[in-house]
Symmetry: C2
Subunit: 263 residues, 2 copies
């Protein structure tokens, strides 16, 4: 965040490495889409309106195809490419993207503002990216869109920004990201697992709560405030306990598996 010219600039940078964040066989156009979408999702969580991106692009297997995907996603979200750098190099491809946005509401929402008593909400189902990943792996490309081309919730973020006490995007899994919000806010988040909307069949609910990359917005609202966008209330912030997240009243620790962490 940077105050500049009477406005607040929201800045985000995400890097992705081949073999970690994407796989050698993946369509470079989809990789481009996700690189941009994940950064725009960070802006969404701050209620920011995208102003542009800069890319750090290491040449890879199919640069033209990457550029096609990059053009598509930037055009889709009306975001200009403001600059960047292209480099060579041996080994797995590493990509970086910086996104700039204009804060539409100040203070800019953060993950640290949740208060005991607040309701915990999410904008939509989790687990769609997991199913998409599995579809892609099994060759059913048509069913893998949620994994390949996720949607940053820009509109929702802007609408929510003036109302939320805390907000973040769910990139690494609902339980892990909720625990981060809880720790940052100094509360415990009590989640009712049955209230969480899932995109998977019921038997896979536990997995859906731990899989990331759906880029839903997770946010808290003061008690009694209803979300002005389609959203689901999935729990409540309570005074801090020994663990950041209570799932159906049970403590969840890192060891019990909250999700996965990209390094």
């Amino acid at each position: 965040m940077l105050d500049f010219g009477g406005e607040t600039l929201v800045l985000t940078h995400d890097a992705m490495a081949e073999g970690v964040h994407f796989q050698p066989g993946q369509d470079p156009a989809d990789v481009a889409w996700k690189l941009v979408a994940s950064n725009l999702s960070d802006l969404a969580a701050k209620g920011a309106e995208p102003l542009g991106v800069l890319i750090g692009y290491q040449f890879g297997a199919d640069d033209e195809r990457f550029l096609t995907g990059l053009s598509e996603v930037l055009e889709h979200y009306g975001v200009p490419l403001l600059g960047g750098d292209t480099i060579g190099g041996e080994g797995p491809q590493v990509l970086g993207l910086t996104a700039l946005g204009r804060a539409t509401h100040r203070p800019v929402p953060s993950r640290s503002g949740a208060q005991a008593g607040d309701g915990l909400w999410i904008t939509g189902p989790v687990g769609a990216a997991m199913l998409g990943f599995e579809a892609l792996r099994s060759g059913a490309v048509a069913d893998s869109g949620a994994f390949r081309r996720p949607t940053p919730r820009l509109e929702e973020g802007r609408t929510l920004a003036p109302l939320v006490s805390a907000m973040m995007d769910v990139s690494d899994g609902l339980l892990l990201d909720a625990s981060r919000m809880a720790l940052a806010s100094g509360v415990t988040l009590a989640i009712d697992s049955a209230a969480v909307p899932i995109a998977t069949p019921e038997p896979r609910r536990a997995e859906a709560l731990r899989w990331g990359e759906d880029y839903q917005l997770l946010f808290t609202l003061p008690a009694g405030v209803k979300a002005p966008v389609p959203a689901y209330r999935i729990g409540t912030a309570v005074p801090s306990t020994e663990t950041p997240v209570l799932l159906d009243g049970q403590p969840l620790s890192a060891e019990s598996g909250l999700g996965y962490e990209h390094r």
Copy 2:
């Protein structure tokens, strides 16, 4: 460049790959310094005042040492770290840095404004990084500072911005970068090789003109205007000829070796 809140934001992104832009054995603190300095040099060439940086950091051999160098260079130039991302991954390390600056003069200088009749100037000698590189390779670390920790000409860039018709930093070699300025401006740059200040012994003048990474500023001033900072007049912009650069009256083509290009 981005107009925002009544100001103009100058944005730059540079990426560096191990094995291309730095070598596996190099001190990570120096790598950090150069990553930041090369971006600040881009801001200097735009006459911009640095506001902050975002880093895309892939973990490497000695992350603590990298962080030390990063802290040093940011503190040295009074530039805050505004954000970034850290990632893992196999293979050669790839780093990215985005720098943001505030334009101190509008229009922001570019490489495309040189006019026939303008004088061509440079802020200081070339070839120091080349000697530093050789010193480092031979183990004389103390003499390698110009290569390891180059200086972005921020003050000079700000002072020059209101006066220059074109400006850029010399990162890839004087002749190559001059040819880029010439092509962007639609002129030919006639360089007097003997007038170019060099940091090397005289016999190595031709090499010094082709070696990069000194981060001097190369700029044009209307005829009769003198540089308000220490600088050397090295040539003149003339109407476009068949080649972008004339060295002592002789055409120079890409094939004859202008310098080196990092990809």
